[in-house]
Symmetry: C2
Subunit: 281 residues, 2 copies
């Protein structure tokens, strides 16, 4: 039985009386197998699983992106029922940001570069709504996908800095048969772009190969990735290819001896695709 609530009050009330440990899985809806994996992980760790489905307007930097973001609540509910969620919180924008709302939570540090630079205001929207959702639910653990690795690093920084007593649990990226990382944005790709998009995973696999053969130089690994991406003419732009520390998101290299995160962001038309892989560790 998966309950659906739409008010902050009903959500708080449910969470306050929920069996512990309580898991929170924050989502924007338009759910896919990646989200199901988050919920199943939460289900196996915790006595109660709460999922929020909220297309948070403040984390969209482009109004066109916000408008066309899909909102298929019935399909989402079916997936969440199947994956074992106990409660779904699907509020309106006015419920989350009532008249008079004036508070922002902002991180610098890991939020500054890459997605932070490409999407002004995006992480401020994320950190503000995540702070609110954590305050409403007061969960013991919250689940985030490794696919949005920078978001994960920012949320970890947020809860450390604000002393929010919650365990942040990363869940591995779920991929399509051809390796494409699952994303709600994949459905916006034309069939031709969808077929071409497998190049993103191929470019990361090339990096893993180079690394496996002993290549430790950041510039060489990045060049190897770009070489594969540039072989695909349907890519309109490579937003970035980067090697960073997984915690601070400062530039890093495997030559430093610590695990590093290799990230890529590309555009097919208006659609940005992100993916990443950890090297070492």
């Amino acid at each position: 039985m998966t309950e659906l609530v739409t008010t902050v009050g009903a959500f708080q009330d449910f969470c306050q009386h929920a069996r512990r440990p309580l898991a929170l899985v924050p989502t924007l809806g338009a759910l896919h197998e990646g989200h199901a994996s988050l919920v199943r992980q939460a289900r196996s760790d915790c006595a109660t699983v709460a999922v929020s489905v909220f297309v948070n307007p403040t984390q969209f930097d482009a109004s066109r992106d916000l408008e066309r973001y899909p909102r298929p609540l019935e399909e989402d509910m079916a997936l969440l029922r199947q994956a074992g969620a106990d409660i779904v919180f699907a509020p309106s924008v006015e419920e989350v940001y009532p008249e008079g709302f004036v508070t922002l939570v902002e991180c610098s540090g890991p939020a500054l570069g890459l997605e932070g630079a490409a999407r002004p205001g995006h992480f401020q929207g994320v950190t503000t709504v995540v702070t609110k959702l954590l305050a409403m639910a007061q969960p013991d653990a919250a689940y985030f996908g490794q696919k949005d690795a920078q978001q994960l690093a920012v949320v970890r920084r947020l809860v450390t800095d604000l002393n929010i007593p919650v365990r942040i649990q990363a869940v591995s990226t779920v991929r399509e048969a051809d390796g494409l990382a699952m994303s709600s944005r994949n459905s916006a790709l034309s069939p031709e772009d969808r077929a071409a998009a497998r190049v993103v995973y191929r470019s990361l696999s090339a990096v893993v190969d180079l690394y496996g053969r002993g290549q430790m130089e950041a510039s060489e690994l990045e060049a190897g990735c770009r070489h594969v991406l540039e072989s695909e003419p349907r890519i309109d732009r490579i937003d970035y290819v980067a090697l960073v520390d997984p915690i601070t998101f400062a530039p890093a290299s495997p030559a430093d001896g610590n695990p590093v995160l290799f990230l890529v962001a590309v555009r097919f038309g208006d659609t940005r695709l992100l993916d990443n892989v950890v090297l070492g560790g």
Copy 2:
């Protein structure tokens, strides 16, 4: 028995196991009878009373003000023991803001004018540390003095906007025999300035008199206040005299029919004194 802890971990641990309801009284230390009144109110409302004593550097806009702010922890402990606190959390700056700290909580709305304008960054420092303290302690209620009326409005806005489940309790201003509102800053006044400082309360009493005799015009009430303040040559500057809505801090007038807050801020040398009174309601 009043316990003293200095680490976030020990404070969280105490609060997590405390008898409920739990009260939090956040202070900067240098405590006086006004703080004792907050603690006594908390004591009478709640099963457990936690007090934080932390000279939060991020809410000081002037480094000289931060440096000279008194830190008499032994005297503070004696007062808190007397007033009935169960635990005192007196952390170092590094304990609250460890290396890598990069997160800010910021309100606009009630934080924008008056003290917000006079002290850039002040309320951002307040909202960030209050968010942290509330996350650490997870209290049922938190106590703030009515003397810092704008801080009170900002904190109310903060907890509403971030959905922090805590009751914010205002406690009336405690005054010296001559009417001066108690403040840790009063001790920085020279004896001559201290004697002259009673004019602040006299100026508010004049406003209450005018209002009691039917004066509803904001400009007339403000002029009446300024007239009294300007009679005291030891005042170096009137920072502001203002009539605002107690919730939004937007300019307001008793003529509008709602309770309004009359505020005054003056300087004696480097020392700023604040006071306020509610008209109507």
